[in-house]
Amino acid sequence: MRNPQLNKNGELQHLLTLDGLPRDVLNAILDNATPFTEVAEREVKKLPILRGKSIFNLFFENSTRTRTTFEIAAKRLSADVVNLNVSTSSTTKGESLLDTVDNLCAMQADMFVVRHAASGAPVLIAQHLQATGRDHIHVINAGDGRHAHPTQGLLDMYTIRHYKRDFTQLTIAIVGDVLHSRVARSQIAALTTLGVPEVRVIGPKTLLPTEIEKLGVRVFHDMSEGLRGVDVVMMLRLQNERMNGALLPTPQEFYKVWGLTAEKLALAKPDAIVMHPGPMNRGVEIESAVADGAQAVILPQVTFGIAVRMAVMSMLAGQ
């Protein structure tokens, strides 16, 4: 079976997950993002690429940053953007996911940007569109359950490449709540595809998925040991809202053991960069002095995120 994200010419048809996305496609997205970074410096921050296209931001789960950056990306490409906050809309009246999609297709949608609490929802929509012969409509996964958050993973790769250039020389640590993190899954998939020789995950046993080492990562349950000599520290947000039961004692105790402080960061390479997908919990997973420090590239991540999303949308629309 062919990769459901690629069309018959091997070009990007949907962006659903980074897992299984070929290296050349990943690199093409990163390469294409570079010229889009310059648009923000212009008098007119707009390109005509998606003029006349309608993009629906279909958010079944709350998000401010991701939705906003997708919206900015689409608007800078001259698309018409419609934001649907579905968590407060038709679904509460009982409409099914695919009925919602069909209705929006009847309004001449060209692209859906989907966030959903259920893993696999964007894949379901893509399969539905394919099964009904609507290949001209594209789907971008903006985060589904614990599964994937591909554009976050891509912007993280863009950020790493911007500061560190060569993936094949790096040691990278992903720290914190990997269990609930779709971001971590997308990061691991991309880092391994791009040839990073050592990807570490660091966290308490209760917040790491069992058998995660099968994804090709080294597991550390000791923060100091895990951070030693790394080039990149990728922090994750502690996802309190997704936790049921006692996975953790208290946020304060979590911080004491797993929070990234200046003292712990000193164990990494002196030129190591610190990343965080946001929103940050200061004093829970990261110390303010680190978040605002010289090694943090957290705000550039947000800026690069717009260019990366512009690249993805342009590639989908231009097939």
Binding site: E11, A28, D31, N32, T34, P35, E38, R42, E43, V44, K46, L47, P48, I49, S314, M315, A317, G318, Q319
Partner: protein, 166 residues
């Protein structure tokens, strides 16, 4: 067809432009061939304003059909376009669509005082009402559409015009 000496044409083009160059004149080369030519003209004419480079991929009128297949590069305009006299430089003038895209893109950076167009060769076959301000060679007969004329740069930096049968 007469042989095309790109180096000689480049020098002729510079001489055509020279009487019209002022200290405010700016050049913007269209990637990739136009930029090579613009680099030469920039030096030959002793232009003091920094050289701009434009990649029209995002402004093409066939984007929806063709997509992002050639790797787009950065557009870099290192001077203030507002009120500047700008000369767009391209290697070959053909349908005029690339020029149209470049003019559109340029205006997203500001309102230039004037926009000129300098090309090495006008090969005919225009599909838009566009003409060059400076042109080193007008082909007497339009080239057939099956032929592709493009500028190439050798390893030693010398420019050549190559005619390719598509």
């Amino acid at each position: 067809m007469q042989s095309l000496d790109a180096e000689a044409l480049c020098r002729q083009l510079a001489e055509q432009m020279r009487p019209h160059v002022s200290p405010a004149t700016t050049l913007v080369g269209i990637r990739t061939g136009g930029l090579w030519l613009a680099e030469r003209l920039h030096a030959l004419l002793g232009i003091t304003q920094p050289l701009g480079a434009i990649d029209v991929s995002f402004y093409r009128d066939d984007y929806a059909a063709k997509g992002l297949h050639t790797k787009p590069q950065r557009t870099e305009i290192p001077f203030n376009v507002e009120n500047a006299p700008v000369i767009i430089v391209d290697d070959v003038l053909y349908t005029g669509r690339t020029t149209r895209a470049a003019i559109n893109e340029l205006f997203d950076y500001g309102r230039p005082a004037s926009v000129g167009l300098a090309v090495l060769i006008d090969r005919g076959g225009r599909e838009l009402p566009i003409a060059a301000t400076y042109c080193a060679l007008y082909l007497p007969e339009p080239l057939p559409t099956s032929q592709n004329l493009q500028l190439e740069r050798d390893e030693d930096g010398s420019l050549n015009l190559r005619l390719i049968d598509a």
